[in-house]
Amino acid sequence: MTPGLWELVLKGIWTTIQLLVLSALLAAAVSFVVGIARTHRLWTVRFLAGFYTEVFRGTSALVMIFWVFFVLPPAFGWQLVPLWAGTLALGLTYGAYGSEIVRGALSAVDPAQKEGGVALSFTPWQRMRLILLPQAVPEMIPPFSNLLIELLKGTALVSIMGMGDLAFSGNLVRLALQESAEIYTYILLIYFVIAFLLTRLMRGLEQKLKAGVGKTPTRGVSAHELKRAETTGVGASSGGGVLG
């Protein structure tokens, strides 16, 4: 590995991080809009939001990327810069997964809280903003953390379209050196480190948000299971949603 090749890998990391941040922002926006729309009182809004979720969860992220890269330009006569095309495809796909998280967390809030809001004659939007969301958002963090890792793994897909992300830089180095074991090991390790940092970041965020509503973070396991987990050496792993 020469310094020049490392520079290539660094550029790849930068592209991957840019793509990750942008598509995570889009996915978060889509998750909240669609997830809240699924609790709307008009059935047409609920139906449209549900339809969106089914369609985008039903198709493969890679097929979606191909579609955005190859079908959108001739259909609408404009072409997106690769970074924005990747952001659009990943954000819309993972946003559909995220909307299920938002919907689940909103419906898990104690109904008495909503009724209290009605009794105090809050408007629906005030109830959502002041009562439901502050309690639901901390509960969303562990599943969102898992989704963020999935999104990080999803960003590697854009390398198939020739975008110079981390996985793509790995392919370039392999072609340059005619040797693959070393570079792919490095690439996998770099992805792993990014994923680890993201998990830490989300755990900190969860702690902060839960402190805001007077709770301590739980790892989604009861005391009994925790004890067994300790005795068998199984670390309490990445949050709930395994059986989702």
Partner: protein, 216 residues
């Protein structure tokens, strides 16, 4: 936007070939991930830290890194070590390995959900460890987790197009081949997009039916 039905008709023979490969990869990948996931889950319950720690680290690593790069790794590195498989075999193995690190968590949750009384009863009846697992714990644990495993089959379906990156001609691979030969991108890509939505929707209906049967 121009939509050419003739292109759809021309693509259909290739589409069926691709669908067959996709379903093959999905079926074999599922079998591998179910078997390997159970192995990981059981190893994680081993009494020695010398077993649980390496298994934990390796599976955590595989789970948190992109399947695409793992595919490249297996596809390009194994031949350098003198092991050659067909692209499809490599892909199926990579998918199975990747998803086994998810199914192991499902099995773990299932095993932990078996009431402690069952373990105690097995001890009281003096059942050997292997028999306790085989006839008491696993039948109850696996029954509980079938729906969750089914969810991962659907997730795997949506990751099979990645095999295209290592030259496997699955649905997406066929669609790309067709578009490059005929310069028609819209039709084949839309056809397979709809096919994915239909298959995963049907699979989720099937899964819901299965879930109802297992619960009652």
């Amino acid at each position: 936007m121009k939509w050419d039905w003739q292109a759809v008709a021309d693509f259909m023979p290739q589409f069926w070939d691709g669908l067959l490969v996709t379903l093959q990869a999905l079926a074999l990948g599922s079998v591998i991930s179910f078997a390997l996931g159970l192995v990981w889950a059981l190893l994680m319950r081993a009494p020695s830290r010398w077993v649980t720690w390496p298994v934990g680290v390796v599976t955590e690593f595989v789970r948190n890194t992109p399947l695409l790069v793992q595919l490249f790794f297996l596809f390009y590195v194994l031949p350098e070590w003198g092991i050659t498989f067909s692209a499809l075999t490599t892909g199926v193995f990579a998918i199975g390995l990747h998803y086994s690190t998810y199914t192991m968590q499902v099995y773990r949750a299932g095993i932990e959900a078996v009431p402690v009384g069952q373990w105690e009863a097995a001890t009281a009846l003096n059942l050997p460890v292997a028999r306790t697992w085989r006839v008491v714990i696993l039948p109850q644990a696996i029954r509980r987790v079938v729906p969750a495993l089914g969810n991962y089959v659907i997730a795997m379906l949506k990751d099979t197009p990645l095999l295209m990156a290592i030259t496997v001609l699955d649905m997406l691979g066929q669609a790309r081949l067709f578009s490059q030969e005929n310069f028609q991108f819209t039709e084949p890509l839309t056809v397979i997009g709809v096919a994915f939505i239909l298959i995963s929707y049907l699979a989720s209906l099937l899964l819901r039916a299965l879930e109802r049967r297992l619960v009652h």
